[in-house]
Symmetry: C2
Subunit: 163 residues, 2 copies
Amino acid sequence: MSLSTAQIQPGGAIPTSVTVKEDAADQPFKFENLTGKNIFVGVPGAFTGTCTRQIPGYIESYDKFKEKGVQNIYVLAVNDVFVLKAWKDSLAPNGTPIHFIADDTGAFSGALGLLFDASPRLGSPRSKRYVLITEGSSVETVLVESVPSELTITAADRVLALL
Amino acid sequence: MSLSTAQIQPGGAIPTSVTVKEDAADQPFKFENLTGKNIFVGVPGAFTGTCTRQIPGYIESYDKFKEKGVQNIYVLAVNDVFVLKAWKDSLAPNGTPIHFIADDTGAFSGALGLLFDASPRLGSPRSKRYVLITEGSSVETVLVESVPSELTITAADRVLALL
């Protein structure tokens, strides 16, 4: 996993050559053919404290995001698909239309320059806490918490206010 | 993480120089000063199918292991401490004396030569499915599933029968 790639800037593009997974370990896919406005929420780790406080805001405000024209919300973490699914089930026992995406190799956040070395706490490189607002495959807004364990500019209500 | 270290053999020793974690991300420790008979159960991944079938056998048979003189059972996975804790809570909502250990860097299973490349399914090197029966820091019995997704010789009842 590359920790040295330059961080994505507004005007950049969502990586379309790397694979991620949702729900199924044997069905990797790429973010090709993105259309409309989408939100990508990168988090350091499923089941960690801050992430587990942050994501319910997106689940609860999902309809408000839809009213603002958002097509999909993707929550991504450098965890495997089984962990992401268990985390989704624990956060949304009745289900949620939000997509929980396993960036299990870190290739997606790595291509965006949004990994950091989380070895002391989590044993491996992980995603910074970030939000991307995209239009098609173009990244229009980049929000990155300067301290990954903090939740400020990437909170759901703060992101909603930008739409 | 080293995938090339020779696999531990009976008569070898539990690595005492690498750190793992239990419950707390900021309290790494080493398996120093092991005494008596202990069981180490390495699994490829928290929340994966086979592991989630395997571990309840150890939880349910815990008293039988104690009757056989086992001091502690350690379940280890190359997952972070938050994932291990969530998995433990899901498998044993009323608690269990079994220790769920985060080998979050893979250093412990790596030193034992018991990692494999699980990238296609899980994105990273993971622990093979293994059981070690130890006496002090000496490894007396080594059981390794030849196919990590299978559960045969490392099932709780099979291990109990060896004690």
